[in-house]
Symmetry: C2
Subunit: 160 residues, 2 copies
DNA sequence: GTTGAAATATATGACGT
DNA sequence: ACGTCATATATTTCAAC
């Protein structure tokens, strides 16, 4: 199933803009911010959730304070050429809690993984004990993040 | 300032695990889930926010339904070697709403950007009109995401 | 979509363990 | 540090316009 764009009016966009940065704002405060009445605001928010435009609400943690000091991007190329084999490998990779993102990309390598671990020792163990032993890993390149300048999930919503 | 790990007990971890996927759960429901009383749960959550362990609460949107069909990773190498020049360029990149992430990384290129745009035309315009004209962009490589297998911000918290 | 009122659920403080 | 209970507050939700 292909998900397609849903048309939004100015009030929807105002609501989504606020909720993207203040996910726990109360409906009455949100209503004030978007210049609508609380019932109208709540009805719109519920509709946006039902439409799947709002996927979920989450708490964003500070990874340094949880002890996750090592962020890295791992590029992979798979050697398997049967669809089922590739699918199985990807299922296993996606199920790993250390892997926060997994994308099929264009370029020199086929897959890009965003991996968060406690330290470089844990990263080395992850690569050598969990990734390398998997069948079909043809090439692998690790980039360590030295400094994170920006990390956001906020989509840029423009006026209708 | 270097942020360092904060020690968490089993109840803290239980609370953070729930809030990472259900950011809008009520305190009474959260208390039931972690087997604590509502006041104890609320006090812990407030403490975790005050400690900065919980950075913020956000709504996660479905990018396809907002019309953001094109996700890409752009690798950059800067040719400027004065700290101030590099700092200025990074400030401008980080301020761009299309750029969701910006990291200084090890490897062939120095910076990795995660960029979300409406379509490939908008990506082409972004690269040719906003990135390339900046001084000091020595090398640039774009990887288009063909398929997103996993996209999460959930940190893997293990028992104390 | 708005206003206002009522019902419900929630957070929060006091006290005892 | 936690649980229970009571109170005050905030929120949702309904009805009328």
């Amino acid at each position: 199933m292909v998900e397609s764009k849903i048309e939004l009016d100015a009030a929807d966009i105002a609501i989504l803009r606020v909720l993207q940065t203040e996910g726990r704002i109360s409906n009455v405060d949100l209503a004030k911010r978007v210049n609508l009445s609380p019932p109208a605001t709540l009805a719109r928010q519920k509709r946006l959730e039902k439409q799947g435009l709002i996927d979920r609400f989450v708490a964003v943690l500070n990874r340094y304070k949880t002890g996750h000091d090592t962020l890295s991007f791992i590029q992979l190329t798979l050697s398997l050429h049967q669809h089922q084999q590739i699918h199985d490998i990807l299922d296993r990779i996606v199920a790993m809690p250390e892997v926060l993102e997994c994308h099929n990309v264009t370029g020199e390598y086929d897959y890009l993984l965003k991996v968060i671990l406690k330290n470089t020792q844990a990263l080395e163990a992850f690569i050598s004990q969990k990734l390398i032993p998997m069948p079909g890993i043809a090439r692998l390149h690790t980039s360590l993040v030295l400094k994170e300048y920006k990390s956001s999930m906020v989509l840029d919503l423009d006026e209708p």
